[in-house]
Amino acid sequence: MHIAEGFLPAGHAAGWTIAAAPFVVHGARAVVKEVRENPESTLLLGAAGAFTFVLSAIKLPSVTGSSSHPTGTGPGAILFRPPVMALLGTVVLLFQALLLAHGGLTTLGANAFAFAVVGPWAGYGAYRLARAAGAGLLPAVFAAVALADLATYVTTSFQLALAFPDAESGLAGALLKFLGVFAVTQIPLAVGEGLLGVLLFRVLTVNARPELERLGI
């Protein structure tokens, strides 16, 4: 669920844009540097962006039969690193806003902060920690992808709570409400996305070993 256009008050929309900007600019710098050194990486990065978009179009199988989609940023954070994902994720959010009407333009900053900054960093952090603690690739991938998904929606809930504090119980109460609606319901989906990530990497370790090695995984 991306925050829809017009949902956030103008001040909050601007604030989150400013908050996301350094990460996205940092990602853009990384991309510009990469492309300057290897012009052909434009195509690989474009392909990575397209994959992230398409990954979020895969339906997560669920017991109830209700369809929901992965955030798609977890695997990207492991494969392409968070700085690059900050940019690619923002590009994907822009495309989702303009090709699917998911999210919006004034809320792009807020959505980018949740999906392209917090999600990938949380996922990548979990991945590094798990690997450092001696976990195998697949458990680390599960932790990373599930956490990236969950962290994204916790951030979205926080953004909404900040914008719409509860009249009686203030920010804390609002956070509880929004977490209840947007994050707790997300837990099974985060587990689902984590599983999908594990299955994805399991196939990749068989079918695409050289590519994984090239990416340092």
């Binding site: 474009g46 962006g49 997560l60 303009l98 004034t106």
Partner: protein, 245 residues
């Protein structure tokens, strides 16, 4: 190839030949107006104008517009209800000004979404990306975004075809099998995206890809009457809103 409905509408829109800058000004203006004016009557006016322009002069199919707007509506409904529910010591209840607050949230969001959708259904991405370049986004970033735009259709086609092939062989006949198939599907799309990038590199090297992926954007001249109408329209909305309020 199968496309995305909003994108198809953009390429077929009667406003396709209008300057992207003009459309960005109009829609951007509408979005900002929707956001800063009070929901009633400001946002309501914006919503009416955006829908009327899309279905009228821009000739966007009503079905496409209605289907696309369902997504933001779903979020807005859930979000607005959550925002106006009050959690207090004595449990959960409606906040005192729940109806007005919810109405305001819904008004802003629906109007804003309609305005963004007006841009989305009249302007293909490949017209908007060169505009980003003019906004001083680095060339490399715009080029990566253009490749993303092109490749996402290629990959969506692969995704649909592979999923259909898996379904034909009962790949989605149980939860467990669905997960396995989805994982294989994601992996298939990822490895294909790498293959595609590699092969494209050779395909483009032959045409001299040493200096990036520069292309010549179409000349879509800006229209003074359109800009004048935009300014007049936005002013009218603001004025009407002030008078009615």
């Amino acid at each position: 190839m199968t496309g995305l409905a909003v994108d198809d509408a953009a390429w077929a829109s009667a406003w396709r030949r209008r300057a992207p800058g003009d459309k960005v000004l109009l829609c951007g203006g509408l979005v900002v107006t929707a956001l800063v004016l009070p929901a009633w009557p400001g946002s309501a006016l914006v919503a009416v104008v955006a829908v009327a322009l899309a279905l009228g002069p821009a000739r966007v199919p009503a079905r496409t517009f209605a289907r696309a707007v369902r997504w933001p509506l779903a979020f807005v409904a859930v979000g607005a209800v959550t925002a106006v529910v009050e959690v207090g010591g004595d449990g959960v209840g409606w906040a005192p000004d729940a109806a007005a607050h919810a109405g305001s949230l819904v008004g802003h969001a629906v109007a804003g979404s309609a305005a963004v959708l007006l841009l989305a259904t009249t302007t293909p991405m490949s017209d908007l990306l060169p505009a980003l370049r003019r906004a001083r986004v680095p060339a490399a970033v715009v080029e990566v975004a253009s490749v993303t735009y092109r490749l996402l259709f290629v990959l969506l086609d692969s995704l649909r075809a592979v999923r259909e092939a898996q379904a034909a062989r009962m790949g989605y006949s149980s939860l467990r099998r669905s997960y396995r198939s989805s994982g294989a599907l994601a992996a298939a799309v990822l490895t294909r995206s790498w293959d595609r990038a590699r092969r494209m590199q050779e395909g483009l090297a032959g045409r001299g890809m040493d200096t990036g992926l520069r292309v010549l954007p179409e000349v879509l001249p800006s229209s003074r009457p359109f800009l004048a109408a935009t300014a007049a329209g936005l002013t009218t909305i603001v004025a009407t809103s002030a008078v009615l309020a």
